[in-house]
Structures are given as C-alpha cells and as structure tokens.
Amino acid sequence: MPKQTFRLNGRTVTVDVHPDVRVLWVLRDLLGVTGPKYGCGINVCKACTSHVNGRGFNPCAVRVGDLAADDEVTTIEGLAGTVDEDLHPMQQAWLDRDVAQCGYCQPGQIMAAVALVRKVRREQREIEDADLDSIRNICRCGTYVRIREAIEQGARAMA
C-alpha cells in the first residue's frame, strides 16, 4: 500500500492508504481524528470543515494523495494549538454564547468561522452581515443566531 504523508495538527503523519481515499476518511477512519464530521460527503453541508495551511477546506472533497508532505492540516482538535491556548478565541466565544445544541456540526462551524475571519482580514475589513449570510455550514438544530453572535465576539478577540 502506498504511503501518504502530510502534517496534521503540528505533527507529520504517514498513513498506508490508497491515494484516492478522501482526507476525511483518512482522518476519521484511519487516524481516529473524529472532530471533522460527515454530513454529506459532497462538500455541501460543510460539517467536515478544517484548515489546510491556515485556509478553510473540506476534507471530504480532497484525495489524500493530493496533499503534499508539507501541507499543514488543522482540525478542530488542533485549533487551540495554533494560538498556544487551551481554547481558541472562537471556541471561547462559542462557549460564552452556549452555541451548541447537539454539537454535531459545531466543529465545522467553528473552523469555518475562523477561516472567514482570516479571509476578511486578508481583505483588510471586518465581518459584515453579508459575510455571515454567506456561511454555507448547515445546522439542523438551528443555532444560527448564536453562531452569528459568537463569530462577531470571536472575531473581536482574534489577534
């Protein structure tokens, strides 16, 4: 079996797996990293949202063979480590607003929120309602109102 190497939450990992397998299943089924959730498998529900090299991506839609050895994948499990804290400011905002209900989509929501804040910062502006409207992560419990509040709080606290 071919070996696939990439960086995951600050460490280099090597997995024996066919290069065609999508990253989501490498994380969940082979590495036991279950924060990214399956919700559709076709990149529309965004429950698996994670980061690659600091940008939001959906591992259900990327072949593990398409990752380079130095590509840095960050899942919800590694998010706090990127700021050397127990919790990332966005996670703290989620706690402060008690956003989660069932919690299934929330790792993806938080990772998408952080990616969105980074994106608008690159564009040298702040989060607006239109940005919040553009978030595609679905939450079937309907926590959207608190998600919007938490993103605004988390964005203020993000360096």
């Binding site: 066919h18 299943w25 959730k37 498998g41 076709i42 991506f57 706690l95 956003v99 989660a100 109102v145």
Partner: protein, 775 residues
C-alpha cells in the same frame, strides 16, 4: 367561557394534612452512597376543568406518557463518589435538546452540589422500565422532574446523617452547601462522606423536597454540560466510537423508494475493490464493509444490482394529493348568509424530511449467542426487543447502549440504522459500523407525511359560533409504540387499525383550539402506509396550527378587527393571552410596514405551556430575487419576537436555544423545505437539494422571551417553538402578498432549483476539487 386553570402552586391546592413535597425514596446497598427513587413518582393527576374541554385540555399527550410509566416500580439511582461527584444514568436520549444539562441542574439543586460535579450519562436499554425509557413528546423533564429530585434529596439526607455521625453534631444543626456539610464541630465534603453514607442494605426513607422559593440553580440560565466537548471535537457520536473490528459499512439501495435487491451481479468485482472486506445482500439493500467509508461509497457506486420495484414505483406528488383528497371526510355544510358567514381554509402540506446532521447509524457486534449495539435511540427497549426477535436471540442477550445523537427531530424514535446494522453484522459474521449515506438519509429516511388541513368557521355578527378542522394525512408511523414491544405490536396490527388508533390518540391528545369559538371539532383521517414516516418535531401541530391561524386572520378580516386584538379577545387561556400580549408589545405589533412586507402573529398551546410568535416578513424582489448557489433565498423573515411560558423554566438558556431552533424549523416549513416525490422516489438527496433554513434565510433580529414561572411545574421545550413560528410566517406571507397560501412550503411548486442526483448508483461521487475551493 371560563378559562382553564391549572394550579399555580401544587401545594396551594393540596388537601389539609397532605404535604405535596413529601415523597418516599430509597437508600440502596452499596460501597458508596446510592440514592434512588421510583421513576413514576409525582405524576400529576389530570386537572379538573370547569368548562366542556377538548381532550387535550384535560389529559394531554404528556399525561399519557407520564401515566404510561405508572405500572413500573423501577428505580432511577444517583451515586455519590469519593471524588465528591454525583453520577446519574438518565433513561432518556439526548440529541441536542438539553436534557442532560437540565437533569444535572435538578440534581445539583436538590443535592446542594455544584453543577460541574454532577455527571449525567445515558442509560443502556433497561427493559424492566417498560414504558419508561421513551424520549418523545417533549416529555423528559415533565416526567422526570419529581423522581430525579427525590433521589437527589434522599442522597442529601443520607449525607447529612453520615456527617452528623462523623462530626458529632445533630442533623438539624448541619448545613449542606456546595458539596460540603458544615456543622458546629467542623466540616466534611461529600467526597469524604460518600463511603460513610453508604448502606449495607436497601432501606426506605421519606424526604421533603426543597421549596421552589429556595431554588438557586433551577430557573437560572446554564450553559450545556457538554459544551466544551462539543467545541473541542471531543463529543462523540455513534460513528465516532471505536469498537474493535467494527469497520465502516454502507448500503446500496434501490432506485425506487423501499425497493428490494434481487441479486448483486458483480460481487467478485466489488470484493476486489481497494479496502473492501465483505459484501452481503439483505432485504433492504446490498451492504458493503470496508477499511474506510470512502471505499464503501466507491463500492456502492460500483455495484450492479437487479432490483424489485418499491411499493410506490411510478407515483408522484400529484398522485398522493389525489389520494389524500379522496380520503378526506366531507365537512358538514355550514350556512353562508348575510347574517351567518362561513370562512374556509384548505392547505396542503407536502412531504418534509427530518433528516438530522448525524445520519442513521449504529455499531453492531452480533455473535452466535449474543449481540451488542451502540446507537442514538429514543426507544431503546423497543429496539432491543425487535433486534432480538430478528436475530432469534433472547432479549437479555442483546445489549443496547444509548449514544448521544447529532439531532433527532423525531427521527430517532425509530431505530432503522440499529436494526440494519444488526442484520448486516449477522450476515457478515463481523462487527460493523453502519452509516447511512446522506443521499439515503434524505431520500429514504423517515419524514413528515403529506397532509391536508381544512378549516371551516361560522361567524355570526362578530362571534365565531363554530370552528371545524379536518386533518387528512398519509399515515404517520407510530410503530415504535410507547417504547416497548407490547404497544409497538399493538401499533403494528394488520390493516393498520392499531397504528390508526395510536395516530388518533396522539392527535386528540395534542391538538386544541384555545379560542372561544363556540362548537369546536378537530378530526384526523390517515391513509396509506407505504411511505417512510414518523413523528417529525411537533408532529401534527405545525400544520394544524398554521391552517388554524390563517383562518383566524381571515375571520378577523371578516369581522373587521385587528388580528392581534381579535386573538387577544377570543383566547380562553390566560397564559396564552399573556405570551400573545408580550410579543405584541416587544415586537411592535401594528407598526407601519412597507408594501410587500408584513407582520404575522400566531399562538400555540401544547406541552403544558403556551407560546406566541410575531414575525416580520419581506417578500419584495430584493429578497426573492437573490441568486444563491445550491440554495434558495425567497422571502426573508427579518425579525422574530417569540414568547414562551413553560410553567417552570428549568434552564431558561437552554429553553431559549430550543425556541430559536423551533423558529428556524417554522421558517423552513413555511417557505423552503419539502420533498418532491417524482416517479416513485424523492428528488432531494442532500443539503444542496433539501432547503432547510440556512444562514442566508436567518432573520437578522430574533428575540426570545422566557416568561417567569407560572405553574411551578416544568412543561416541554424541545418541540414547543415550531408551531407558532410556522403559523406566524404563514400569516405574514398572506398579509404581505395578499394571498393566503393554499400549500406549504410556498415554493414547492416552483421549478426545482437543483439538478436531480442520479438514483443509479444511489449515492453521488465524492468530489476531488476541494483544494480549489479553499476559503
């Protein structure tokens, strides 16, 4: 007509000499303290009502669910540990509704222990509980409120007794607070006392519950006890569990709904695919087990299967509509004269999906002589019994573990994933982690049946003298019964009579018209058991209430009254009137709105509570003309004011969250969410087809008002937000557009906004372009 009163304080109406806060509990034998109470404790008898009531007023679904528990004399137990924590295995299912948090709060309150020292887990299937392990009807807190507190009070009493011995003080001079007992001679922590308070034998004790005026935890807003696990990715669902040998497993399903496989034509080819270990043909499809779910998806797509058509092959929406129209009972003719006018409503509600984010899934490890199941189950005893029956095992050889679910919305009352996983594991002779693909969960999973709701009201002068509502639905499946097989079997009797009895019972126990409208009747007719249905969040109420409240608006127009004032004047129930007045005040009812926008207002009364919703809806082109990729914009609700009275809010913060979620559901039901049946199968196969409320549909302003305690006992929360929200959006749509809708959601007959995914293979391919779509 007199209003229906429930006693505000149960103690206030207790006969002289009867202490309504005094209960019997138990200290059970153990090495550390184990306190217990009967789960059937504290069920309130139906209240006496001074007027001729509808059944739901006297004895509602929650009374039925609570009374169903009476025959059992089985115990729930709270254990104290030497680290100072208390633990409790709740015989209910948690799918996001917050019952682990609210239960921990009840224990913390009565035990005088900090909330973070209470650990609430979910109990395995306990067949001895009979009826009493069903999670439904928003009944958890209603039915467990007293027994959980009694067990905690027993524990507190035993700790005080032990402290008196240890400290050499009288119990009366001891104070328990924050997990520490203080006395004149010193202090002892609960952890220190857990072993000393243990009993060698079981003994009965009488305890008195805390006076609600002394509550310090109950009634305060608390964050979810699992919030930190949720935001760090540590919270585990069925598919996150690691069970030895339980490899990913998926099922290839038929191109028509509920079709069956005849044979797999290329088994060798499928078995040779990377990662695949096993293939098995079963009545519901062809199962494949592989190293990863991705390889299962590839294998499902590679399968060449001969299928037998399902029972609705060839049918489309319009065929079902015709069938419903034929099944409708004639409404009695009512006079329509200058003196006596008849107001009519006839709405059609299309099929809707309650597919949760966490699809149907279960882990099963079935051996020759035993089986073990892990799944998110709201009726675990029925699941255990049915799985035992299918596997030919004694019930006590099937262990059923209840796992936290990623949403339910009624879906997990059934155990489709667990039953399939057990059969696949048996067929393959190996443990499996079975997960439904989203396409199957959307197209094949259970949902809310298509229905019509017709209303006729007679208005004489300014008075409504009759209000008739006739609801006709494709069958709602209640074959999970009340959580165990005796009733599940009753619901499965041939000819559907058993299930119809359940349906009519549940309809009669949940529906009521809380207005003073003269002669009120509401009836249910159900037909056709070929679809995969079940209790979707709030069951009949959203559709029944939307049709009812649209009619109320029409009546108000006929009598030339303001819709809010008309409701306020005709409501028979003080609590419902209070929430209505609250939303009108806070939400600025009657403020000037631009053309193409409107307010809508509606009420609902259920789950021993009352709710009201006021929305503002924008139907102008600026909203409806939005071009949204893989989604629909449509009219946008721009502001929501919602008030809820649940009697006694245990956790107002969790209650607010449930109402926000119910509002999102109500918006979806009115405007965007439905399933299209076409040629024997549903079109919608994923979240880019089925348009549940998304961020671009979310109202920019949402305010939820939790009313102060009114009855002193908690009502239901999980479903209470949906009906009034749907009805308010429906009413706003009618007022904004000048057309009262005749079907829901209002976009159902628009051209579908997506390209329909194929049925063969039944699941879409996994994309490869994710690195081109980074944000």
């Amino acid at each position: 007509m007199s209003a229906v009163h429930r006693p505000l304080d149960p103690e206030a109406v207790a006969p002289p000499g009867v202490d309504r806060r005094s209960f019997v509990g138990y200290v059970l034998g153990g090495t550390t303290l184990v306190a217990a109470a009967d789960l059937a404790l504290g069920a309130e008898p139906a209240a006496a009502v001074p007027t001729v009531p509808q059944p739901a007023e006297l004895y509602d679904l929650n009374d039925l669910l609570t009374d169903a528990a009476r025959p059992t004399a089985n115990l729930i137990r709270i254990e104290l540990h030497e680290d100072g924590t208390a633990s409790f295995a709740l015989p209910r299912s948690e799918n996001g509704q917050g019952v682990t948090t609210s239960t921990a709060m009840l224990i913390a309150e009565e035990l005088d222990l900090p909330l973070d020292k209470v650990r609430v887990t979910l109990a395995d299937a306990r067949p001895e509980l009979l009826f009493n392990q069903l999670t439904g009807g928003s009944n958890t807190t209603i039915s467990t409120y007293t027994p959980v507190r009694v067990a905690a009070a027993v524990a507190r009493g035993a700790l005080l007794d032990a402290a008196a011995v240890l400290l050499g003080d009288e119990v009366a001079k001891l104070v328990a607070k924050g997990g520490i007992v203080q006395g004149p001679s010193g202090t002892a922590s609960y952890g220190d006392l857990a072993r000393a308070a243990a009993s060698r034998t079981d003994r009965t004790v009488r305890v008195r519950l805390k006076d609600p005026s002394r509550f310090r935890v109950v009634g305060t807003g608390q964050g979810r006890v699992d919030a930190r696990d949720a935001v760090t990715g540590r919270k585990t669902f069925a598919t996150d569990l690691q069970v030895d040998g339980a490899l990913p497993t998926m099922v290839c399903r038929a191109p028509t709904l509920n079709g069956e496989p005849r044979r797999l034509r290329n088994e060798a080819e499928v078995l040779a695919l990377p990662g695949v270990t096993d293939v098995a043909v079963l009545p519901f499809g062809v199962a494949v087990r592989a190293e990863t779910f991705g390889q299962c998806i590839d294998a499902v797509r590679a399968m060449k299967v001969d299928w037998r058509d399902g029972p609705v092959a060839g049918m489309s929406d319009d065929d079902v509509v015709r069938e419903l129209r034929r099944a409708q009972l004639p409404l009695p003719a009512l006079p329509n004269t200058p003196l006596s006018r008849t107001v009519e409503t006839d709405v059609l509600c299309y099929f809707r999906s309650n597919s949760a984010m966490d699809t149907n899934s279960a882990i099963a490890d079935v051996r020759e002589d035993r089986a073990e199941i892990w799944s998110a189950l709201k009726s675990p005893i029925a699941a255990q019994q049915r799985i035992a029956e299918v596997l030919g095992l004694p019930q006590d050889r099937v262990d059923v573990h209840v796992v936290q679910g990623g949403g339910s919305f009624g879906r997990r009352l059934f155990f489709d994933g667990a039953l399939e996983a057990a059969q696949v594991s048996r067929a393959m002779g190996k443990p499996v982690k079975l997960m439904w693909h989203r396409a199957d969960d959307a197209r094949v999973g259970r949902g809310h049946p298509m229905c019509t709701s017709r209303v006729r009201a007679v208005v004489v002068g300014k008075k409504v003298v009759a209000f008739q509502q006739s609801h006709t639905s494709i069958e709602t499946d209640y074959r999970h019964g009340l959580g165990e097989l005796i009733t599940a079997t009753a619901a499965s009797l041939p000819t559907g009579l058993g299930n119809l009895g359940f349906a009519e019972t549940i309809f009669a126990l949940t529906q009521e018209v809380p207005y003073d409208f003269g002669v009120v009747t509401q009836t249910l007719t159900e037909t056709d058991d070929r679809f995969n249905t079940g209790s979707m969040r709030n069951i009949y109420s959203p559709d029944v209430r939307a049709a009812g409240e649209l009619t109320v608006d029409k009546i108000a127009t006929v009598v030339k009254e303001d819709p809010y004032e008309f409701r306020r004047r005709h409501l028979r129930d003080e609590r419902t009137r209070a929430v209505l007045e609250k939303v009108a005040e806070v939400g600025d009812w009657g403020r000037a709105m631009p053309a193409g926008t409107a307010q809508g207002i509606a009420i609902h009364k259920e789950y021993k509570g009352a709710s009201a919703c006021l929305v503002e809806l924008d139907c102008r082109d600026v909203q409806t003309g939005r071009d949204i990729r893989d989604g629909v914009g449509g009219p946008r609700v721009t502001r929501v004011t919602f008030a809820v009275d649940v009697g006694l809010p245990v956790n107002p913060r969790g209650l607010e969250a449930q109402m926000q979620g119910g509002i999102m559901d109500g918006i979806a039901l009115a405007l965007t969410s439905s399933m299209h049946l076409r040629d024997g199968h549903f079109l919608e196969a994923s979240w880019d087809n089925y348009f549940y409320t998304r961020q671009w549909n979310v109202p920019p302003e949402v305010e939820v008002i939790v009313m102060p305690p009114t009855t002193g006992v908690p009502g239901g929360a999980g479903e209470a937000g949906v009906a009034a929200s749907f009805a308010a959006v429906a009413c706003a749509y009618a007022r904004a557009t000048g057309r009262s809708p005749s079907y829901f959601p209002v976009n159902h007959r628009d051209p579908v906004e997506f390209s329909v995914k194929p049925y063969v293979p039944p699941v879409p391919p996994s994309p490869v372009n994710g690195l081109k779509k980074i944000v």
